[in-house]
């Protein structure tokens, strides 16, 4: 994929850099592991928090911080579900669709969200507000059906509760 093709923003690798303070944090994280590469996942989190998502140029930049090949970083980024490879909405709503949530009505909750947001799981609402995901067990099955909204777990969902939560998302 060429730059700018499906990877909007961050096409200029020169803008894809950490501040001095962040670089110090990278070094601190690297020093926590017997092999500095242990810090790759945490540094990728830092990168994502800073730039919103992880573009190819950003992968290349992170690779230089570790003396790793861009291919290694790409392999890692694509293996895990919590790194975004395109810009997500301002909020990410991940509804659990595994067994206990399924038994408690997760399909209805997902249908409700699809209708409210006008998107399918994996898509972002037109206004860029919400990315909807349908995910595996988040291990809060005692409060099924449930979903994660950004950092928070939202439990014991009903359509009314979902509406209230959506209203609170700017």
């Amino acid at each position: 994929m060429s730059e700018g093709d499906g990877y909007p923003g961050l096409t200029d690798p020169a803008t894809t850099v950490f501040s001095e303070a962040q670089l110090a944090e990278v070094r601190r994280l690297q020093s926590l592991y017997p092999d500095p590469r242990g810090a790759l996942l945490p540094v990728l989190y830092m990168a994502q928090e800073t730039f919103g998502w992880i573009s190819l140029p950003l992968e290349e930049y992170v690779a230089t911080l570790f003396g790793l090949s861009p291919a290694h970083v790409h392999e890692v980024v694509t293996f895990y579900t919590l790194y975004f490879r395109e810009p997500p909405g301002r909020h990410v709503v991940s509804v659990c669709h595994n067994l206990s949530c399924h038994l408690a009505g997760a399909p209805g909750i997902i249908a409700h969200l699809r209708q409210r947001l006008g998107v399918d799981p994996g898509e972002t609402s037109e206004d860029g507000r919400v990315t909807l995901l349908s995910v595996e067990c988040l291990c809060a099955c005692e409060a099924a059906p449930m979903m994660q909204v950004d950092d928070r777990y939202e439990l014991n969902l009903t359509p009314t509760k979902v509406d209230r939560i959506l209203e609170g998302l700017a």
């Binding site: 592991y33 919590l82 067994l99 595996e136 099924a144």
Partner: protein
């Protein structure tokens, strides 16, 4: 039968996660005691307690610790598996959020037993709040000088991948790689994280250790069965009146757990099936619930204690649909390294999906059974065997229900 609360004794306190509350309730006394004990004495005590790993495999903890080579001169690592991801399991989340100092104290003692100076706690990426809670407890423990004097804890966040719960996948991930499991042997105790001898233990396993040191191996062993000591935390969900975490001696029966602790089936409905140990455990029918919930009790019943995630299904539940949901999970989470696992999980999900959509074929059921049985035991890690458990048991125990769907 309620039994004694050990791991969950402080859960009702809203400040249970703070150092002050932990100290008020006798916290860090076991560590003081353990510091006066020889490492081998700690190890022997844990062995005699019959503590078995509570992450899934049920391996005797003291025995695992004894595998660290005695002659080893370099670093030894303790790695805590807080990557909780087994569908139907949520106990470690409670421990991280509500009793993080119990884990830290257990780690201090375990590290002394295996002579480790550095530990990594691998917390599931989605567990943001548990990660924050645990990280602040670690900071408190540093400020109070429990940590930093010959023992350090590094808190590491995963990034979303069930397979990183498997100990060698976890180690790969901790090393900054994709979470591909590795062939064993070598076992982590010989060659683990960063190439060094490593003990991987589950959160709950380690939280038991301070109590064993405080109250003695005999006390702990007597709480359980002949081959497994103690209590454990059962995560109960699905179609029950009171889903939640229940601590009980491992000798409790599945029937007692469902009816005496979790309030029975939702709306007094009729029980149909139960998954006793997380989604990778074979399913039990309503007639099979008079089994004890210890590792060997469930093994003898043809299933497994696994992570103690109990998922209850009543008459309203379609077993083929439940299998489809479970099969989707295994298809999504296979790391793709082994052909039987990668291919079978994908295809079996597709087949279960078409069965549920009413497009199933007569031969589908035997195809699934055949594919499942052939691949079992041939893969790098136990993930695929964990998928085979449900594939085979759901179909064999509820064959009539599947046939009614494919023979229409």
């Amino acid at each position: 039968m309620t039994g004694e609360m050990i791991l969950t004794r402080n859960f009702a306190r809203s400040d249970a996660h703070t150092l002050r509350a932990y100290l008020e309730t006798g916290g860090y006394r076991a560590w003081a005691k353990a510091q006066a004990m020889e490492p081998t004495a700690i190890l022997e005590e844990v062995k005699r307690s019959n503590l078995r790993g509570l992450g899934g495999a049920g391996f005797p903890t003291g025995t695992k610790w004894s595998f660290i080579p005695k002659s080893h001169a370099g670093p030894v690592y303790l790695v805590i598996n807080a990557d909780e991801g087994e569908p139907g399991t949520f106990k470690d989340r409670y421990l991280l959020e509500r009793d993080p100092h119990a884990l830290i104290e257990g780690m201090l003692i375990a590290a002394r037993a295996i002579r480790s100076a550095t530990a990594f706690v691998y917390v599931r990426g989605e567990y943001v709040e548990p990660w924050r809670r645990f990280s602040s407890a670690v900071q408190e423990a540093y400020a109070a000088q429990y940590l930093g004097h010959g023992f350090d804890i590094v808190v590491h966040r995963g990034a979303g991948a069930y397979i990183c719960g498997e100990e060698t996948g976890l180690i790969s991930s901790l090393e900054g790689k994709k979470g591909w499991p590795k062939l064993k042997p070598p076992f982590p105790a010989i060659k683990g994280a960063f190439g060094a001898p490593t003990i991987v233990n589950n959160v709950e396993t380690i939280c038991h250790v301070p109590h064993i040191v405080n109250r003695g191996a005999a006390w702990f062993a007597a709480l359980g069965t002949k081959t497994q000591g103690g209590t454990r935390m059962y995560s109960v969900s699905g179609r029950v009146a009171r889903p939640g975490v229940y601590e009980a001696p491992v000798s409790i029966t599945l029937r007692q757990l469902i009816y005496e602790r979790a309030g029975g089936v939702t709306g007094n409905g009729r029980l149909k099936a139960v998954v006793p140990g997380g989604s990778s455990a074979a399913i039990l029918t309503a007639d099979e619930i008079d089994v004890t919930m210890d590792v060997d009790g469930l093994k003898n019943a043809g299933t497994m204690a696994g992570s103690a995630g109990v998922i209850v299904m009543d008459e309203t539940v379609s077993i083929p649909e439940a299998l489809m949901v479970v099969a989707r999970f295994y298809a999504h989470e296979s790391c793709g390294q082994c052909t039987p696992c990668r291919e079978s999980t994908g295809w079996i999900y597709k087949i279960t999906h078409r069965i549920v959509e009413g497009r199933g074929r007569k031969e589908d059921l035997d195809t699934i059974l055949d594919v499942a049985k052939r691949g079992a035991g041939t893969t790098i890690c136990a993930f695929y065997d964990g998928a085979v458990g449900p594939y085979i048991s759901y179909i064999e125990k509820f064959r009539g229900e599947f046939e009614a769907m494919v023979l229409k």
